[in-house]
């Protein structure tokens, strides 16, 4: 009695992806023609590059900042400091993706908070254009993905034995060298798993690039949405989506091979 519900539920998850892939190859002129159409459009080509490059930047930022937070959570001794770290982590996690983007749009707007603070401080004479730039999108996406990165790293970081660092130091290593030669190799699987997860989620972003990037720096998701709702070109949208899907699977697969299923699964399960 239990199994059918489970199987039907799982099928419902798989079927959209199967249909998407089949449609990408069979709708329109079929074969690889839809993919050719994707690459023939300069706008979509640009947005694909844009999506990949910006997601990479977001991934690096999330891993670096995330490692710093996750490591602090793992070795924080004071309960109050630990609570502060968790609050900083989870408050934006619970804000909802639209509200997060909105918060950054107020900060980055021409007459927004950052410009007025910098103006009052005498740092700038004229307001800077910050909203609707790549910078704004990267900041907004990093803000959204950072908690995911930290949660993905936490299992690895909390398992690290601080004794290893003490041993390295008592053997004459400097603290910096101990971190680079002992700590980094041991936590690397967690960092790689977090990076793969952040990247795979980032390339599908829709809300943040629209609200903070505007028309200047469209993400693939924006192009896909336009293909469906503005140009009624579903076959091309399906091909673009399959590209995103393949990209995510390749990155996750590579990570899986590099760090093993345990680190990756631990990363997803937080």
């Amino acid at each position: 009695m239990v199994a059918p519900v489970a199987v039907v539920g799982a099928l419902f998850i798989v079927y959209p992806l199967v249909k998407l892939t089949m449609d990408a190859f069979t709708q329109g002129d079929g074969g690889f023609s839809n993919f050719a159409a994707v690459f023939e459009s300069a706008a979509i080509r640009n947005s694909l590059v844009n999506t990949i490059v910006m997601s990479l930047v977001v991934t690096v930022l999330c891993v670096v900042m995330g490692a710093s937070i996750s490591w602090s959570i793992a070795r924080a001794r004071s309960a109050a400091f630990k609570a502060l770290l968790w609050a900083a982590l989870l408050l934006p996690f619970w804000m909802g993706v639209v509200v997060k983007a909105y918060a950054w749009s107020i900060i980055f707007a021409k007459n927004g908070i950052l410009n007025s603070v910098l103006d009052q401080a005498g740092v700038i004479d004229e307001p800077m254009t910050l909203l609707y730039t790549r910078l704004a999108v990267v900041v907004g996406m990093t803000y959204t993905m950072l908690p995911y990165a930290v949660l993905a790293m936490n299992p690895t970081m909390s398992r690290f034995e601080p004794e290893f660092l003490n041993s390295a130091r008592s053997l004459g290593s400097s603290r910096t060298a101990a971190m680079v030669r002992v700590w980094l190799p041991i936590v690397a699987p967690g960092l790689i798993a977090a990076a793969a997860i952040v990247f795979a989620i980032s390339i599908g972003f829709y809300v943040t690039p629209v609200l903070l990037g505007g028309a200047e720096t469209p993400f693939m998701a924006t192009m896909i949405g336009d293909d469906i709702f503005a140009f009624f070109n579903y076959p091309r949208a399906a091909a673009s989506s399959v590209l995103l899907l393949v990209l995510a699977l390749v990155v996750l697969g590579t990570a899986l091979k590099a760090v093993g299923s345990k680190a990756l699964k631990g990363g997803i399960a937080g």
Partner: protein, 271 residues
């Protein structure tokens, strides 16, 4: 041990230590400031959002509850989230039992499949669902959005339930049965009861995941279905209504409250 460390290394250590602290401080500020800012700005009274606000008051909250434009989307969001949360449990519970407690072939694959959507780019997923929904005439229907939200919430809820189920030992059920309990009673009285906090927690996760969801609704909701995140998305895109700061603050506190509730419940499981 410091006698073994030469001076350049010590200077390097000092630099990395300072850099490390700066990085942490920056990361924390980066995470906290925007959230705090939204809360602070929600108590301003200026007709346009500005910092620092010139006047303070509850005008924006009054606006949210009296302007009438927020009520519809809020109600729709609550309704969809409620159905989605219940629906997610209906799929997730059997799935977790099948994956953890049965000898079903491919049971670990089953759980893998349920968790997979979390790392699949959501816009690709949305297009796949769009195609399936177009076939089934579900575009722009509330049923369709609920179904999509169930898929979206499933990974988190499966993770919550299966982590908890793994910790409930099957021996307890067997012990109850040796004392004369029927199989069903042993299952309901022991396993299900011990799992209850995780079920409540899974319900809350499902609810929040649907309540916050803005991408699937954009692709699948047609023009008629406007949930709260979609409404905020549209209004930020075309105009900036300062009442958003108030609704965002209310949402933040509501969600924080629900999540704290859920983590308290799970801690009571008695690990």
């Amino acid at each position: 041990m410091s006698t073994y460390v030469n001076h350049p290394a010590r200077a390097l250590d000092r630099t990395t230590s300072i850099l490390g602290r700066l990085l942490l401080g920056f990361s924390l500020l980066f995470l906290l400031l925007p959230a705090i800012l939204i809360v602070v700005l929600s108590f301003g009274t200026d007709p346009r959002v500005r910092f620092p606000p010139e006047g303070w008051g509850l005008d924006r909250y009054v606006d949210v509850f009296t302007s009438g434009s927020w009520g519809g989307p809020l109600l729709l969001s609550l309704e969809v989230a409620l159905y989605a949360a219940v629906g997610t449990l209906v799929v997730a519970l059997p799935l977790v039992f099948a994956a953890n407690r049965s000898r079903l072939p491919g049971r670990s694959l089953l759980e893998g499949v349920a968790i997979a959507p979390v790392v699949i780019p959501i816009s690709a997923y949305a297009v796949g669902m769009y195609a399936v929904f177009a076939e089934l005439d579900l575009i722009g229907t509330q049923r369709g959005v609920v179904l999509a939200h169930i898929t979206h919430a499933l990974p988190l809820v499966v993770i919550v339930l299966s982590t908890s189920l793994e910790q409930i030992r099957t021996e307890l059920e067997l012990a109850a049965m040796t004392m004369g309990a029927t199989r069903l009673r042993a299952w309901g009285g022991i396993t299900l009861r011990l799992l209850l906090p995780a079920v409540v927690s899974g319900f809350l996760f499902g609810f929040i995941s649907s309540f916050d969801e803005a991408v699937l609704i954009t692709f699948l909701g047609g023009s008629g279905l406007v949930t709260l995140p979609k409404y905020i998305f549209d209004s930020v895109q075309y105009s900036v209504d300062p009442a958003i700061t108030a609704i965002a603050t209310l949402l933040m506190f509501a969600v924080t409250f629900l999540m704290l509730l859920s983590s308290t419940l799970r801690r009571k499981e008695g690990r």
